[in-house]
């Protein structure tokens, strides 16, 4: 790990030149995989994420089936080479938790009643990581679901907000995350339905409010980009 930079904010700008309320550049490609029913490749700064959706499809093992609706599964996984120090392949406790909260974040928008007894499987592969992989993964997964034609009540948009040298800042990148004082990823169905909220670090209750409002603004911007990507592909918002 590199040493902590002396300052994370210089003259109101962040190490990568961003303003406090500025997202990193985002690139979205829809429908990039052949085998998956829906897919999305997404870059958020240095993060490179591939998401795929399979479904509706048969459930194995059978006893997991639900009689009146589809089950939704979500697997967040990091490629071994996606981080500085090679990661052992396979799930660890962190990825199990992220898979769980991401599933909780995405599931509310899926109209599960359309596919009784079936499964909708969401796979997110982190090809390169630079802080914010879970939020980037949720954004990509949301688009991949639309690409797969899974009926949804809306898109889920996600981003994080951090506290950096005492300031609230949108979408922390790796150094800001490592050396910052707080990190809070949220996911939202625009305009105001929160489906993910995690926080660790230190926020006064006032700081929390400021951060939370900023994060919601970030989600709104991301939502717009998600929409545009789907319109560019389909002419409309992910309708089949």
């Amino acid at each position: 790990m590199k040493d902590k930079p002396e300052k994370l904010i210089v003259k109101g700008k962040r190490l990568d030149g961003r303003k406090m309320d500025e997202l990193r550049p985002i690139k979205i490609e829809v429908g990039v995989l052949k085998r998956a029913d829906g897919s999305c490749y997404l870059e958020l700064g240095e993060n490179k994420i591939m998401a795929a959706v399979y479904g509706p499809r048969e459930v194995h093992p059978r006893h997991l089936q639900e009689a009146t609706r589809a089950i939704v599964r979500y697997r967040y996984n990091m490629a071994s080479f996606s981080v500085e120090e090679r990661k052992r392949p396979g799930p660890d406790r962190r990825s199990v938790e992220i898979s769980k909260v991401s599933r909780d974040a995405i599931k509310p928008v899926i109209i599960k009643e359309c596919f009784p007894k079936a499964a909708v499987d969401i796979f997110v592969e982190v090809l390169q990581a630079d802080a914010g992989t879970r939020t980037a993964g949720i954004n990509a997964a949301s688009i991949a679901l639309a690409d797969a034609g899974i009926p949804m009540k809306g898109l889920v948009s996600s981003c994080a907000v951090g506290k950096i040298d005492g300031h609230i800042a949108l979408d922390p990148m790796k150094d800001e995350d490592n050396y910052g004082e707080a990190d809070m990823p949220i996911a939202m169905v625009v305009p105001d339905r929160i489906t993910l909220l995690q926080m660790d670090g230190h926020f006064t209750q006032d700081e929390f409010k400021q951060a939370f409002e900023l994060a919601k603004k970030g989600c709104e911007q991301i939502y717009e980009m998600q929409r545009q990507a789907l319109i560019a592909k389909y002419g409309v918002e992910g309708k089949q």
Partner: protein, 261 residues
């Protein structure tokens, strides 16, 4: 099928109650169940606490042993937090390696301890780069009647507050008290029919779409949050939940942690 219809009716009933400000067990929406905290029961452990919230029961043991630091933090002690949802505690818990529920529980409690600064890890260095104290926080669930997370988090900080540094056993002088700098308290709120309820019982927890746990430090600041469940919350609900939980956390800390301080 009948079973699921009964469940549906029961759920509707509980939602209706909630809308009227009532709960199945007769509590007010913002009423916590009775809490009890007993410390020091496990003499084999350096610290321990048995927490009961209503019928929910969690036994937390803290073991402290010397070990090697991580290469990138050679001057810091190590915290390892683990939750065991043993099948003795609930018909739905199974044997085997921890599943996502146990992992999430352990990680949320872990972040609360860590981020609150409850343990100053540099205090736990014995010899830089060579030997540090490893603090194992093992949360053993004995009876699961809802809201495990608040019980486990309370048990963890109570067990830490009560733990000794076993210097004698390792020929490093007299035993000391594990220094604890903050007393984070987790309080969980669930949403039901548009209303917010403190401290969900098992049945409430099973039907609620969304749960929010907030961990507060002594000074009222927040060191951790975790939303779970597949429901959605409005900003308004989140702000309200924080307010409800904030007061309760202060009360719990005062009653069960500070009197020992």
């Amino acid at each position: 099928m009948n079973e699921s219809i009964v469940a549906e009716i029961r759920k509707d009933y509980m939602y209706d109650l909630a809308k009227r400000g009532e709960r199945v067990d007769g509590r007010a929406l913002d009423q916590y169940r009775d809490i009890s905290v007993e410390t020091g029961e496990i003499s084999r452990a350096e610290g321990s606490a048995r927490v009961q919230i209503g019928n929910t029961q969690v036994l937390v043991g803290v073991k402290i042993q010397p070990g090697e630091p991580f290469p990138d933090t050679p001057d810091k002690g190590v915290i390892i937090t683990n939750a065991e949802l043993v099948p003795l505690a609930s018909p739905t818990f199974e044997s085997g390696p921890p599943r996502e529920g146990a992992i999430e529980l352990a990680r949320v409690v872990d972040r609360g301890i860590r981020e609150s600064g409850a343990l100053d890890l540099t205090n736990l260095c014995i010899e830089e780069g060579v030997k540090v104290w490893m603090v194992f926080i093992d949360m053993h669930v004995l009876d699961h009647d809802g809201n495990l997370i608040d019980a486990a988090a309370l048990g963890a900080i109570a067990a830490l507050s009560n733990a000794k540094l076993p210097n004698e056993r390792y020929d490093m002088g007299k035993d000391g008290q594990l220094p604890v700098a903050d007393l984070p308290v987790a309080v969980t709120v669930v949403e039901m029919g548009g209303k917010l309820l403190l401290d969900p019982g098992l049945e409430e927890e099973q039907i609620t779409p969304a749960k929010l746990t907030i961990i507060f430090n002594k000074d009222g600041s927040i060191s951790g949050m975790q939303k779970s469940g597949t429901g959605m919350l409005t900003s308004e609900q989140i702000y309200q939940a924080i307010e409800m939980a904030s007061n309760k956390a202060k009360e719990i800390r005062k009653k069960f942690l500070e009197r020992k301080g």
